[in-house]
Symmetry: C2
């Protein structure tokens, strides 16, 4: 099967467009030019036009974009017109934070199950969802429509748990464990490696300090 | 001042190299070729060599890289040979999760203060750090060496809090609020927009389903 993909760099920018357009819509703005959007988002107007051209362009240039239409269309491209059910593996603070976010639900991501191996957490409720022991995960995934598994467990164990989830039929993993998962083709993985992000910040702090020192 | 930067794409890949090299070191591996590293990390050997060439190349090719040396050198580039103190603004589950990570401390990121406006959370202890009211933030930042402020507060308020932090002297913000901050040049910001990441996953799920349907 040939997979003709739009680059992940473009896809990675869509949620940001979606966020800005949602804010504009909430503020009652009806139309916006690529130039205005460019100034607001601090990207070039040509980048915006190029990105949008991947999806047919979304309407006339001179006149500007219809904010509500553009917001809806990008939402559809992102699959936000559909409902996704997710479970969280790991009921620690991070898992609880993610389970608690109402914003995810507003975008169609429904929190439907939570699992942990720590007996102290079993039975605890997070936004109406009870934490279940890991042994219940298989039956839950097989008996419920679960689209996404969120991994908020330590790196040891994460690879095994991911393999199990895939064998139970999970098609997408949102991975917060600090390890790269090894999944078959067709399983979607999105990593959030928090340490990596912090190290990138650390690099930029130190590099800037060096540059200031060099230029003094 | 001219800022000669290595591309953020390269910087963004460094923490992943660092992670793999740390694992190899822990497993007792002494040398590794770019080819072996390429297979392990699933990036091309030429990408690895190009990335490393930004920093002088880290030693001979034919012989392979010295794992411990490479690990240390990349750590230095990332500023991990230095200590950074961070405070967390927002003592909810996400803030507590970040405050609780011992891994950050192992890399030299010291959790030293936590602030929230919710009276119910004031005085609560997260890994030995007491949650203080927001009013204490200014004095704390001015009287202590704080390198990084972590924002784990809702988007309303985040822009204001970031502005205040910068005016108190904060040079770097690790931003989890779902909004882009507006900071002066020289202030480093690293965003973790969790909703954006989830939407990207959602796109990939739906796009894959479409491709499968189209190819059937």
């Amino acid at each position: 099967m040939e997979i003709k993909e739009i680059s992940q760099a473009v896809i990675g920018r869509l949620p940001r467009y979606y966020r800005y357009l949602g804010d504009l819509k909430d503020e009652g703005v009806e139309r916006i030019s690529s130039q205005e959007l460019s100034e607001l988002m601090k990207v070039t107007a040509s980048q915006i036009r190029q990105d949008f051209n991947n999806f047919g362009g979304f309407g006339q240039q001179g006149y500007g974009y219809n904010v509500e239409y553009l917001y809806k269309e990008i939402g559809k491209i992102l699959g936000l017109d559909q409902t996704h059910h997710f479970i969280i593996i790991g009921a620690g603070n991070l898992g609880q934070a993610l389970g608690g976010y109402l914003n995810f639900e507003r975008r169609g991501f429904i929190f439907s199950g939570m699992f942990d191996q720590n007996p102290a957490l079993i039975g605890k409720e997070v936004r109406g969802v009870k934490v279940q022991p890991m042994e219940e995960m298989e039956a839950f995934v097989k008996n419920n429509a679960v689209d996404i598994a969120v991994l908020t467990i330590p790196k040891t164990g994460a690879v095994d748990v991911a393999e199990k989830l895939v064998s139970y039929g999970i098609k997408a993993i949102w991975n917060f464990a600090h390890v790269d998962l090894n999944v078959p083709e067709g399983i979607q993985v999105e990593n959030v490696h928090l340490s990596d992000s912090l190290m990138k910040l650390s690099y930029n702090i130190n590099r800037y300090d060096q540059l200031v020192a060099e230029n003094q």
